[in-house]
């Protein structure tokens, strides 16, 4: 289901769904996704767990509905133009309630009555996304009102506890801030209609510090890249001093230093620091402090700014240059994880395109033929608006 969603979304981003998928294929794909729907709510990750005729009360536990798979199935159906009429909406909303733990977190699957999977905000994000879609103006029906809602208050308090001392969010309290978990946390909070953020945190656990989050997010943009495309595990920043590769991109003709060189031992002069503002800089986003930029974090970070309605705080030009000139594959198409990687891959291509969309202006999107993307729901903005539109 993940792969399907990544591919369909990427096609949607570049407005290519209609030209690449025939009418018959489209019906077939829709059928395949519905084939993954469980009669008691939610979607399975793939058809491989379905026992078909041999399914019984004993083995049903091996074929559970899966929270992220359900969110991705709903999004994929919407991309294919399906209006979700065959989705078991009430059953899915009821199942969603069973996926929430007492601490407010969500799991991935329900096996033998036990909620399996981590407690991290990936599942909370997908759960609130499912809730948003199924309770939208387009999808809700008369019997929706009978289904009690998930515990929003517990969800919000649980996420607020996972804000780290530096302002970012982690998968669990006291773990390191991470841009992916920060996106999921902010998305889940937004989709829960949370307005509990506060300028100053206090100890009641319900508040989180939004200005600290923005400060942390703004520090994620970096011109730090792998010196020679080395593996993450090989990278040692300190012992050898941080090597910041100077990005010599074609546009850069002004000869200005692109960043502060940490190995500098002589204090810089005023003129060295006070540079012209409009530099031809390429800078991606890292996911954690003192790590290098990576294409997918361009999405997780830029979209976080998007959720907070602060996209202008991103250096859009530098991020666009990073994506278009450094991680876009020069002849294969798509995007790779790091500049200079041998191959582009599906995941980074989708994330790269989505990031490009949220940091581009309407004119830039039109010029490039890419769709406006909704940062909170990670779907086409027109689809997001359609969900909230009145039934005609």
């Amino acid at each position: 289901m993940y792969l399907g969603y990544f591919i369909l979304s990427a096609l949607d981003l570049i407005s290519a769904v209609d030209e690449t998928i025939s009418h018959e294929e489209r019906q077939g794909f829709i059928q395949w996704i519905y084939h993954c729907q469980r009669p008691d709510g939610g979607f399975r990750m793939w058809p491989g767990t379905d026992f078909g005729d041999r399914a019984n009360a004993e083995n049903v536990k091996w074929d559970p509905a899966n929270v992220p798979a359900t969110y991705f199935a709903l999004c994929s159906l919407l991309i294919l133009g399906d209006e979700l009429q065959r989705v078991h909406k009430v059953a899915t909303l009821q199942w969603l309630r069973r996926m929430q733990r007492e601490d407010g977190s969500f799991g991935e699957t329900l096996v033998d009555g036990k909620i399996e999977g981590g407690v991290d905000p990936r599942f909370a994000y997908c759960a609130t996304g499912i809730r948003h879609i199924l309770r939208s103006r387009r999808c809700r029906s008369a019997d929706h009102g009978d289904v009690p809602d998930i515990d929003i208050q517990a969800l919000i308090e649980g996420i607020a506890k996972k804000q780290s001392y530096d302002g970012g969010f982690a998968d669990e309290a006291f773990h390191e801030s991470h841009a992916g978990y920060t996106f999921c946390s902010l998305g889940a909070l937004k989709l829960s209609g949370d307005d509990s953020e506060s300028e100053t945190t206090n100890n009641n656990g319900c508040k989180w510090d939004k200005s600290a989050t923005i400060r942390w997010l703004s520090q994620r943009q970096t011109d730090l890249v792998y010196p020679d495309g080395e593996e993450d595990t090989e990278f040692r920043s300190a012992s050898f001093s941080v090597k910041r590769q100077k990005l010599s991109i074609e546009e850069s003709t002004d000869g200005e230093p692109l960043h502060q060189d940490v190995s500098m031992t002589i204090p810089p002069t005023k003129s060295e620091y006070l540079r012209p503002k409009d530099m031809k800089l390429a800078a991606g986003m890292n996911g954690r402090m003192n790590k290098v930029a990576d294409t997918c974090y361009a999405w997780w970070t830029a979209a976080s700014f998007g959720i907070l309605e602060q996209i202008d705080l991103v250096n859009r030009h530098a991020l666009r240059r990073y994506l278009l000139q450094l991680t876009q594959h020069p002849y294969m198409g798509g995007f790779s994880k790091f500049p200079g990687d041998t191959y582009a891959d599906i995941y980074h291509s989708f994330m790269g395109l989505a990031a490009l969309s949220v940091v581009s202006t309407d004119e830039q999107r039109e010029e490039a033929g890419i769709q406006k993307w909704n940062a909170t729901l990670c779907i086409n903005d027109s689809t997001a608006r359609w969900l909230d539109s009145a039934l005609s």
């Binding site: 491989g48 767990t49 800078a283 954690r288 402090m289 250096n315």
Partner: protein, 330 residues
């Protein structure tokens, strides 16, 4: 798996599996992403499906899950079923630890492996503590920022204990790489949570000094700056009133008046009501770009203007800060 080197005998030709009818995967109609499985993968999964369909919890099922995990360690159903089998056959969980260690060598970023490891450690209880700390240490020696290894380590400390050497361990990792933010984060965790220490407030003074030393040695390292700030999470009054914090800013700015992190912390302090000494004003105002117009009334505003220039990557952010200064900022 080691058996890769040997000639693989298909399950269909193995005597001990002759009673099992493999259960093929139903890809559904018109698969969106049809995966071209290798024969070996397809056959193993077909037998696995047959075994867990009949809920056969046996020694051969255990071997089959080892095979399936070797082919795809990300399949959570296989791991789940394996746990049921381990319990049913009364397997030696120490052997299982070795198995996980072997799989983890090439898949240290796989969620399922760490989940399984936690389950094992939970089963074994206190006796697993040393082994788990050593295991994570081994993984962190290969990749000092492995998120799963750090998560597992925190879980071990909180549930099984072993806090005694943890601060030394953080210290050692930070000596290896003072830019390792995962190690800074772990230090914060130990200071805050270790039952052997008196909590954040009790350690604050010495930790401020620790962070200050790291900052003076490497003022461009974001981690100790955030750590220093984090020691006062939710307590802005104390950070403003501790002269040691503002002194760190001043010391760094004296050497390099354009240090982004020093200016950034100074800005935060000013926003919380810090009353700057004249020395601060002199340093900041002498760093102003003479082209940037008349002197700002507020020092915080001047700091933002300088940051816009010296940190052009974030000039929008600094300009936004400038336009959102709280009224109490000096």
């Amino acid at each position: 798996m080691d058996s890769d080197e040997e000639e693989r005998i298909p399950y269909s030709q193995r005597k001990e599996w002759s009673d099992v009818i493999p259960l093929p995967q139903d890809d559904g109609p018109d698969p969106v992403v049809s995966i071209a499985y290798k024969d070996e993968f397809r056959e193993t999964m077909d037998y696995f499906r047959a075994v867990y369909h009949s809920d056969e919890r046996s020694a051969r099922s255990l071997d089959l899950t080892s095979d399936a995990i070797g082919l795809n360690p990300g399949n959570y159903t296989v791991w789940h079923f394996r746990r049921l089998v381990l319990v049913a056959v009364g397997a030696d969980l120490h052997d299982e630890m070795d198995f996980v260690e072997h799989v983890a060598e090439n898949n240290s970023k796989n969620y399922q492996i760490w989940h399984h490891r936690r389950w094992l450690a939970e089963k074994l209880g206190a006796e697993a503590m040393r082994k788990e700390l050593k295991f994570t240490q081994k993984i962190l020696a290969l990749d000092a920022k492995n998120y799963h290894a750090w998560s597992h380590r925190q879980w071990v400390l909180q549930v099984l204990g072993g806090w005694e050497d943890e601060l030394d361990y953080c210290q050692q990792l930070l000596e290896d790489d003072v830019y390792n933010n995962s190690a800074w984060n772990q230090r914060y965790f130990v200071i805050t949570r270790s039952p052997l220490l008196g909590g954040l407030q009790a350690s604050r003074e010495s930790e401020v000094r620790y962070a200050a030393d790291a900052i003076i040695a490497n003022p461009e390292n974001e981690s100790p700056w955030r750590y220093l700030r984090g020691l006062y999470k939710g307590d802005n009054n104390s950070i403003v009133s501790n002269p040691e914090v503002s002194t760190v800013c001043l010391d760094v700015l004296k050497k390099n008046p354009y240090c982004v992190f020093a200016l950034s912390l100074l800005l935060d302090l000013l926003c919380y009501g810090f009353q700057p000494r004249d020395e601060f004003r002199r340093i900041v105002e002498s760093s102003r770009n003479s082209d940037s117009g008349p002197l700002d009334h507020k020092l915080a505003s001047t700091v933002c203007s300088i940051l816009e220039n010296v940190d052009p990557m974030r000039s929008n952010y600094w300009s936004w800060r400038k336009s959102n200064l709280p009224t109490l900022a000096c």
